[in-house]
């Protein structure tokens, strides 16, 4: 266990070192696409910075999931990672082990667990995460491969930096058409927020 952890620490140090050494004007080659829920051709896009351990992210995601499902030709949802609690980064990297529907399936399972436990994320144990991964067609091996992938850790860090630069200080951070919709977090009245978002998207 120690050697595994040390190997991880060394690889992480290597990643950080490589990032420092590799300074240059270029963007990373073959940049991974942010996960998109819904149809890419939908003319409107909600952009969400969320945390896998935040129950409020889970609540808003439930609303947005429903909106995209009921307005598929109108709006899609783009996900960005915004880790807020200690275990978050690895959970987000685990999510990036999956693509398309399986990414969203994994995301629903993790956020569902956090919501079910009233915001407690201690239940997101390695065994539970592996269980979610298997349910989405993954395995402990695919999770290990994701954890070893520098590009996935970079993707999470990149999202965190972007979110911070956009002013996100708490999750969830929702953006639409150049507006930061939730700088104080989500409204307590979720039903009214759902209604207002749908009215906004129905315009134009």
């Amino acid at each position: 266990m120690m050697s595994t952890r040390r190997a991880f620490l060394l690889s992480t140090a290597g990643i950080a070192g490589a990032a420092l050494v590799g300074c240059g004007p270029d963007l990373p080659p073959e940049h991974p696409k942010p996960p998109l829920l819904g149809e890419g051709t939908a003319p409107k896009r909600l952009v969400l910075w969320g945390s896998y351990t935040c129950p409020f992210t889970a609540q808003l995601f439930g609303i947005l999931d429903g909106i995209v499902a009921s307005m598929p030709k109108t709006v899609s949802l783009e996900w960005h990672h915004f880790p807020t609690h200690a275990p978050d980064p690895a959970l987000h990297v685990a999510g990036l082990a999956f693509k398309d529907a399986h990414f969203w399936g994994f995301t629903r399972r993790v956020l569902g667990e956090v919501l079910k436990t009233g915001g407690q994320y201690a239940g997101l144990t390695p065994e539970r995460v592996a269980e979610f991964a298997k349910a989405e067609g993954g395995s402990e091996e695919s999770l290990a491969a994701a954890y070893a992938d520098k590009g996935k850790w970079d993707a999470v860090k990149e999202d965190l930096i972007a979110g911070r630069l956009l002013g996100v200080a708490r999750t969830p951070g929702l953006f639409y058409d150049g507006y930061f919709m939730t700088p104080k977090g989500i409204p307590l009245d979720l039903a009214a927020f759902d209604t207002s978002l749908r009215a906004m998207l129905a315009q134009g």
Partner: protein, 197 residues
């Protein structure tokens, strides 16, 4: 003898490394308190510790401070997004070409690594529509022009989205409404998870 000493030295060094590592584990657990049990190899908190160490270095770096100043997010170590805290909705769009040119010149000059560059590309896409970017290009500071051009050529953050998918073109350099059309702010308080790091 020399060989025994060398082996002993390696053993002591090895034990010291194990002690330091075990202590680091203990410190991490105390800070995050995920569970009283010993962390499993794939424990998300343990796996994430290197990320947070790297993030803390990034967050406290002069380069990140310069970047946060350049984008005016109020998100540096001292401000921490406080400028947005009292507002229900914030218009982040930059619609005037001159302002966009200044934003791109200063922010691009402050971004020095691939991860920050990609993050900044997302920010620029979210705040400046393609038309305004185009209009701003000739106004970019001479010393930053080449880098901004290179940046704009690589601005896609992955999804080959529709033009203006993040930011509609209705602004046309003028004032935007304070709220998205059709949106009614919801009264009665709000809730969220503050960033701990």
């Amino acid at each position: 003898m020399g060989k025994k000493l060398a082996c002993g030295g390696v053993l002591i060094l090895g034990l010291a490394v194990v002690f330091v590592d075990a202590h680091a584990d203990s410190t991490t657990r105390e800070k995050t308190k995920p569970s009283p049990e010993v962390s499993a190899p794939n424990d998300p908190t343990t796996l994430s510790s290197g990320f947070w160490a790297d993030w803390n270095r990034t967050k406290s770096s002069a380069n990140f401070a310069a970047l946060t100043t350049a984008v005016g997010c109020g998100c540096g170590p001292a401000a921490d997004g406080a400028q947005n805290q009292g507002k229900a909705t914030v218009d982040i769009a930059i619609t005037r070409p001159a302002e966009a040119a200044q934003f791109m010149s200063e922010s691009v000059a402050s971004s020095e690594d691939p991860v920050s560059n990609a993050a900044l590309a997302t920010v620029i896409n979210m705040r400046i529509s393609p038309d305004v970017q185009q209009a701003a290009a000739p106004l970019v500071a001479a010393e930053a022009k080449a880098r901004v051009e290179e940046f704009r050529a690589n601005l896609s953050t992955g999804i080959p989205g529709l033009p203006g998918i993040y930011l509609g073109e209705h602004a046309d350099g003028g004032e935007r409404p304070g709220l998205p059309e059709g949106y009614t702010p919801v009264a009665g308080g709000s809730m969220g998870c503050p960033s701990r790091y």
